[in-house]
């Protein structure tokens, strides 16, 4: 018998695997059978779902009936893997994007929710908003610049 920890958004649940192969989560047991390339049949009694799973364990994508979940799976009982969080910056691009407008200047007082920068990616405008009230300390980008995710665009005090 082995136990796994599943992280689904904010929720963490433990899955244990019984000797008979059934998987138990929250006292509910289901039979899970591999039915094809990355396809699983999850069944209990008369009901069954075909579920598609892709991606590495630390970032598993799962499709059920038109809905998609991202799940992290970890084996319990071993020393937990270091889980580096992506370097957290005040304000960074969520994806590769082009800066289209810089709407504030160093020294600008901003309120939570104010739009600070406009980015463009895939023909869509993405506003970067102030996460809290503050004063703009420095700006690390300019209009027209291509920026990568994780790069700090602006310092807010």
């Amino acid at each position: 018998m082995s136990a796994l920890e599943l992280r689904l958004g904010e929720r963490i649940v433990t899955a244990t695997v019984n000797a008979d192969g059934r998987i138990v989560i929250d006292d509910v047991a289901y039979v899970v059978t591999s039915v094809g390339d990355r396809l699983y049949r999850v069944s209990s009694g008369d009901l069954q779902w075909t579920v598609a799973v892709a991606g590495p364990p630390d970032n598993r994508w799962v499709h059920v009936d038109g809905q998609v979940a991202k799940i992290e799976v970890e084996t319990l009982g071993r020393s937990p893997r270091a889980r580096p969080r992506s370097a957290h910056h005040d304000l960074s691009a969520p994806m590769p994007a082009t800066v289209t407008r810089v709407l504030v200047a160093p020294g600008s007082a901003v309120a939570r929710g104010d739009t600070l920068l406009m980015l463009e990616a895939m023909k869509m405008e993405l506003p970067i908003r102030a996460p809290r009230d503050g004063v703009v300390k420095a700006i690390h980008c300019e209009a027209g610049q291509l920026v990568q995710p994780g790069t700090n665009l602006l310092d807010l005090e």
């Binding site: 082995s2 796994l4 599943l6 689904l8 958004g9 904010e10 929720r11 649940v13 899955a15 695997v17 192969g21 998987i23 989560i25 929250d26 509910v28 289901y30 899970v32 059978t33 591999s34 039915v35 094809g36 990355r38 699983y40 049949r41 999850v42 069944s43 008369d46 009901l47 069954q48 779902w49 579920v51 598609a52 799973v53 892709a54 991606g55 364990p57 598993r60 994508w61 799962v62 499709h63 059920v64 009936d65 038109g66 809905q67 998609v68 979940a69 991202k70 799940i71 799976v73 084996t75 969520p94 994806m95 590769p96 994007a97 990616a121 895939m122 023909k123 869509m124 993405l126």
Partner: protein, 500 residues
Amino acid sequence: MIKRVLIANRGEIALRVIRACRELGIESVAVFSDADRHAPHVLAADRAEHIGGSPAPESYLNIPALLDAARRSGADAVHPGYGFLSERAHFARACVDAGLIFVGPGAEAIERMGSKIGARQLMQQAGVPVVPGETPADQSDAALTASVSNIGFPALIKPSAGGGGIGMKTVRTQGEVLAAVQSARREAQAAFGDGTLYVERLVERPRHVEIQVFADRHGQVVHLFERECSIQRRHQKALEESPCPVLAPVVRQRMGDAAVAAARAAGYVNAGTIEFLLAGEGVDAQFFFLEMNTRLQVEHPVTEAVVGVDLVRAQLLVASGKPLPWSQESLSQRGHAIECRIYAEDPTAGFLPQAGRLLMYRAPEGPGIRVDAGVVEGSEVSVFYDPLLAKLIVSAETRATAIERAVAALRQYVVLGIRTNIPFLLAILQHPRFVAGEIDTSFLDAEGQALRETIGSEDMPMAGFAAAAAHLDDQRRDRGAPPAPAAADPFDTIGTWGVR
């Protein structure tokens, strides 16, 4: 007849054109940027030419590079698809100047309909209804009040020089007009240094209904009925259907006639679309010209499904100088079709565009299901282009059965590796207002929040079980053991499908 077409586009529309070429025995030439070197449209074409760097201005918008590629490949025609250069008159002209057939209207028609003011005047002359509006030469209170009465209520009074809603006033009764004129003038003067006012009829809760038109070089112009496109978010359409659920036959006839008159007035050739605002329902509905799209539309398969025609094939025939393959009398609508646009965007995170590799991609199949996709499993979705991955088009006997078919198909549509709007499309299709056909262009603004809240990835126990099973399989494989046996008996996998 055209012999070899260069397709100045990418993604699903390039593949759509390649299919039509293949059926007609025309050779296809794909073009590609650095990012698209291994894209499906490049593999599908008979030839492929590299045209530049990944950003569109270096490749798909790069006219000299496209004309060079046409020359190198010996193409005798260019199909622009939609987007990119498809509505740029100077591109159409440059193709013709280079001795190439442009599969679309002439540059003059693109220019004529590309000017908002010019197109509006042309439509008025052709007797096509436009939203009533004017800038009275006499800007006195009395003249503006008279102008509002003339145009009818409800009306909008707005700065002629304006934008962004500043100084814009809605008036519903005669009694409100004078005060509204005076404050609009004051605000216009303050904001724009110009107090000139424009008066316009306010079209409330309009639907966006468009008519497909088609003209050949021999003077024949037909329409292919309407597409209802009111489900849009910031002018990006999400879902289109035909027929429009509230269009009375007599209004459909009038809109079709108006669209044909519009295409004739524009001197139009090839496939085009006349967009209208539709106010009201049934026989009393009014429609107003909005603009003309001088190209093939993203949502053209909806028309293909209900009218039973191949619009891209017809484009290639007409561009070759052949007459239209249909007469107006031969065309009719049958059944109902709905198109769902599958976008790489996260509806739970402000519709943020998504980029990455498609780890798994399985499109639905079945009766009445068509998928026009620009991607395959393993495709890399880049940030450089439009986030449209694919279009699901379902057709069925009635609107209700088409909705059911679309829901069932979307539930089987597996896209893993990046987020898509599929859960959001499912929420729209099952919303009571959509099901009842009670939609207008404000639907997604009004209902978007409620729709997004129905998207639940938090409460998915099935996902947890499958993720756990996949993990166990991986562990077994790592230990060198065979993966858990697949179901031994194929009949094992057949059973009732669960509903949660």
